[in-house]
């Protein structure tokens, strides 16, 4: 699978993180898988909230650590929010059949999804990181794996231009 260049962003506040998530959601479509990476407390769930809100999810989006997958119907594709944190084996990831959820007119967000990236086909990795000396700020690095985002990448660069960290 070929890899598109990464996009490095800087979110100064929680609102920025929500807005970057909304920009990504605005370009997402049924079949997409988005892996959310980053340490505890970097805002993976916050990102999911921004993403879901932009898709029109009214319910509060909480971390699905204890149920593995939460599904939120929207006017468009169903949003599935998964968390691999408690899993130990790749077979457990396979059991969730997240790729199939995407395929059945869904968009799938996977917290800690990077540890099982090989289990997914084309996807985007959103890597969140702390910024030294600024508790509110986050680095947000977006990377597309596979060709699914090739034609949307330019639009994503434009949509996130105001948070560009390069």
């Amino acid at each position: 699978m070929r890899s598109t260049p990464s996009l490095s962003l800087r979110a100064s506040t929680v609102d920025d993180t929500l807005a970057v998530a909304a920009a990504l959601a605005g370009l997402a479509r049924a079949g997409d898988v988005v892996l959310l990476a980053g340490e505890m407390g970097t805002g993976k769930t916050t990102f999911a909230q921004g993403f879901g809100r932009a898709m029109g999810v009214d319910e509060p989006i909480t971390s699905p650590t204890f149920t593995l997958v939460h599904s939120y119907p929207t006017a468009g594709p169903t949003l599935h929010h998964a968390d691999l944190y408690r899993l130990e084996h790749m077979s457990e990831v396979a059991d969730l059949a997240l790729g199939e959820l995407a395929e059945f007119h869904g968009i799938v967000l996977v917290e800690w999804g990077d540890v099982a990236a090989g289990a997914f086909g084309d996807h985007v990795v959103v890597r969140l990181g702390h910024v030294d000396g600024d508790d509110a700020a986050r680095t947000v690095v977006l990377t597309a794996v596979g060709g699914a985002w090739a034609r949307r990448w330019g639009a994503l660069v434009e949509a996130t231009a105001e948070w560009c960290d390069q």
Partner: protein, 249 residues
């Protein structure tokens, strides 16, 4: 098992098939297939299956309590689809107190080609460039599996076909999706059949029912046939998210 007289020669069998994007339901027995419903678009297995069972029963003028056996496709195939079919089939088997027969999706795809003199190779799309496949050969009285079901990249299937170098008939949705790649690698015929169907499921289950090769609902298990398991490497997580810097506790 309280199957009683319903599991004799005249047993009526309900067949449930949801291992691919198709939902397929059939009723049949010693007279062959009496009713068949299938829809290959929509991909709403959970919403389609139960109404489909009701429809086939009603149209065939059969009530659920007349059923003597529930047959189900146990995969390999789509996890989400298989689970809907298995859950519904087991629930019916338990509620009706009838035995069950589970049959492989690859057997079902091969069955319509049982009179072919080629090696029949059912291929089901396993996603991400991989396929489920097995190989069958005609023998007196039916088909014999000559290569056990496996999952692997399309290249592996092509290499397997090359190694055998026999006349081959590929069939199934995986063969359709990777038609060019398969034919480029090994010249063979691709059959029109795309999805396993509940028709052959009922027919095969009837043959097995006559030999009393049934099990209880609790013994029906899905065949996921996935790659060897591995532990998730959580060490990668510790290094991740710090932009290459030191790990933050």
């Amino acid at each position: 098992m309280c199957a009683g007289e319903r599991t004799g020669h005249n047993v009526l069998i309900l067949g449930i098939e949801t291992a691919t994007q198709q939902v397929s339901v059939a009723i049949g027995g010693h007279e062959g297939v009496l009713g068949l419903f299938e829809v290959a678009r929509g991909r709403r297995h959970a919403e389609t299956l139960i109404p489909a069972i009701e429809f086939v029963c009603r149209q065939a003028d059969i009530t659920l309590d007349e059923l003597g056996l529930v047959a189900v496709d146990v995969g390999p195939g789509l996890f989400t689809g298989m689970r809907v079919g298995l859950a519904a089939a087991k629930a019916l088997g338990q509620a009706l107190r009838v035995p069950m027969i589970g049959i492989s999706s690859l057997d079902l795809l091969a069955f319509p080609h049982r009179r072919s003199d080629r090696v029949v190779v059912p291929v089901i799309d396993a996603r991400k460039g991989e396929v489920f496949y097995a190989m069958y050969r005609q023998v007196p009285g039916g088909l014999q599996q000559v290569a056990a079901p496996r999952v692997g990249p399309v290249e592996e299937l092509v290499a397997d076909l090359l190694a055998r170098s026999q006349d081959v008939l590929c069939t199934g949705v995986g063969a359709h999706r990777y038609r060019e790649q398969i034919i480029d690698g090994f010249h063979c015929e691709i059959a029109d059949t795309a999805f396993p169907s509940a028709g052959p499921l009922v027919q095969l289950a009837h043959a097995r029912a006559l030999r009393e090769e049934w099990v209880s609902p609790a013994d029906i298990c899905p065949v996921y046939l996935r790659a060897p398991d591995a532990r998730i490497n959580w060490a990668t997580r510790a290094r991740a998210g710090t932009g290459g810097g030191a790990h933050r506790a």
